[in-house]
Symmetry: C2
Subunit: 355 residues, 2 copies
């Protein structure tokens, strides 16, 4: 059977209406609200076809139709248009995200909150991950007589602290000299590339501080694991409670459960795998493998952070979410973030990032 012009119009009407009302939509409604110039009876015939083709389904005999998963898929892939933001939306974003931020956390938090408020869905933002990013500079700073902090500046200007303990510790000047040596050995290597035998070079020269040096290397290397423990910013989880599809407390509960599991959220955001940069991806309903979120859709994308690093944003709503608006808003935000981050990182090669 062919999906002709008229069927497309009807399918679109059904989806649009269902997105707006969450009620199964019947032939009469379509005839009344959408000016297709045909009678309910004709629409019924077409709907019968659409059902056979798998794009819509009937909750029960005497109800209207609702879009099926492949109906949404069809809509999203072929029928939906990205629209311009309204003036209100643009205005809102302008006020919600301040241009001058110098902490990536604040930016992420603001972004998550702004998106959640604007779309009325739930937003999850993952901090840019820095695996593979090289060490630009490392320096030891005295803390107390048995403790120092190793301050590591990454290629993308992220800064990490590690607490180092050792029984024997040089004085401030000694620490500074030792830092220079360690620095010369580690700079321009990604954390993943550091092997323990790199420590030998330093040990040769500063044998008496072997404990301290080994601990520094250990701490820096273990940072890989910490990197995996990526920061997520979630906002607007409660928004989902407003949708009738989650008015059953048990459903709501299982969703909230999911949102408290970090691993779950990371899977949800996907990414890394095969995602083209800057491409907005839409995962509809059961397409994600997570049972708890089978009634949810996710609109997600990467954002760039400096040269080597990307972060990830996902907007989660009910399957009948407003894809068109969501995609438009997300698209705009990604572009905006790009500008802000560019400015934050100093516009060019090097910049600043307080992490």
């Amino acid at each position: 059977m062919k999906l002709n012009e008229r069927k497309i119009k009807i399918l679109e009407a059904i989806i649009t209406d269902y997105i707006a009302t969450a009620e199964p939509v019947g032939s009469r409604t379509i005839a009344r609200k959408y000016d297709l110039g045909i009678s309910p009876a004709t629409i019924r015939n077409e709907m019968s076809d659409l059902e056979e083709m798998g794009y819509i389904e009937q909750p029960h005999t005497s109800a209207g139709r609702i879009p099926s998963q492949s109906g949404y898929r069809m809509y999203v892939d072929n029928m939906m248009h990205k629209r311009m933001l309204t003036d209100d939306e643009t205005e809102f974003l302008k006020n919600a995200i301040s241009f001058n931020v110098n902490r990536v956390e604040y930016l992420m938090q603001q972004t998550a909150k702004a998106l959640a408020m604007l779309t009325n869905y739930t937003t999850v933002v993952a901090e840019p991950k820095s695996s593979g990013v090289k060490i630009k500079h490392i320096q030891l700073v005295p803390v107390d007589k048995n403790t120092a902090a190793a301050v590591v500046v990454m290629e993308n200007n992220a800064i990490k602290n590690h607490i180092i303990k050792a029984k024997k510790m040089p004085d401030a000047d000694g620490l500074y000299r030792l830092s220079g040596k360690i620095n010369s050995v580690l700079e321009n290597y990604a954390v993943e590339e550091i092997s323990p035998d790199k420590a030998q070079e330093v040990l040769k020269e500063f044998a008496e501080y072997s404990e301290l040096i080994l601990n520094v290397f250990k701490a820096v290397i273990s940072a890989v694991r910490q990197e995996e423990d990526i920061h997520l910013y979630t906002s607007g989880v409660k928004n989902l409670l407003g949708f009738p599809e989650f008015s059953d407390v048990n459903k709501a509960k299982s969703i909230f459960q999911a949102f408290e599991e970090k691993d779950m959220l990371i899977t949800l955001l996907g990414g890394g795998e095969n995602t083209a940069a800057d491409k907005i991806e839409i995962v509809i309903g059961g397409e994600n493998k997570m049972e708890e979120l089978k009634d949810c859709s996710i609109v997600r994308a990467n954002y760039r952070y400096g040269r080597n690093s990307v972060g990830r944003i996902g907007i989660i709503g009910p399957t009948r979410m407003n894809y068109s608006q969501t995609v438009s808003v997300l698209d705009e935000i990604i572009r905006k973030l790009d500008t802000i981050i560019d400015a934050m990182l100093g516009g060019g090669e090097d910049g600043d990032y307080d992490g």
Copy 2:
């Protein structure tokens, strides 16, 4: 009217039962389940008195009684006993909170999660706040040709980074020397005590880097504001959904709304004000001023972090929460945290903290 022995027993029975079942409890139930040696009729008379005294109330004529706010208050203040933890609970805590953590964030996160799982209520943990804490050491670390990081070690070994930008920047050795000077001026002052004219002393000696120096001072001072932006760790919000009192989606929604407002949570945790250290406080139902949380109670307390700093923990459940268990568990955790933090801070005067 006097609250005699028998009335107390009956009130206790009502509260215990209601905490367990969330159902209004009637005279017959008490006679059957609690061995008071008196008949339902007598209990009814006593209940009638208790109602008049304001300790219990009746949802409607033909229902049993439920504890009123002052009923809970009476129970919590005079009748409840702190109990020992069960072996299971002790075991759980032992596994849930690892003794060897070196990041305060992890510890807080673990604590929140453990408490939420153990009590099945919602837990909020606030990081220790460090206002008033003195600067122990400050050092500048090069980032790139226009950027440096100011690493500030606080008296309680918290470490903060600030990004500093300046057009003219000394080389690494120059930065190190400048650090020494700044350090001599700022050490042993609390951030709040730093006045801009302190910068003058440094400027005299390093006039050519005035922009850099002024920016360092600005950044350090602005840290006060950042301190106010205290970190909170929340866990188990979804637990509340399991309680029948929140099975109405709208109620649930307003509660979740509250939990997304940081200010709200901070008010909720209270503290600072008039709270004796280590004393467990209980706020029952409407006693907190927040409309959204009028059906919730909070059990909260301080925990010590080093010498000058306290953090705060709150456990939030329905008004009919199990106060006895909650208090016992919280008490135990506070004690445990004390030990862990002591170890983390190095057991004695000085320690390490990676923040």
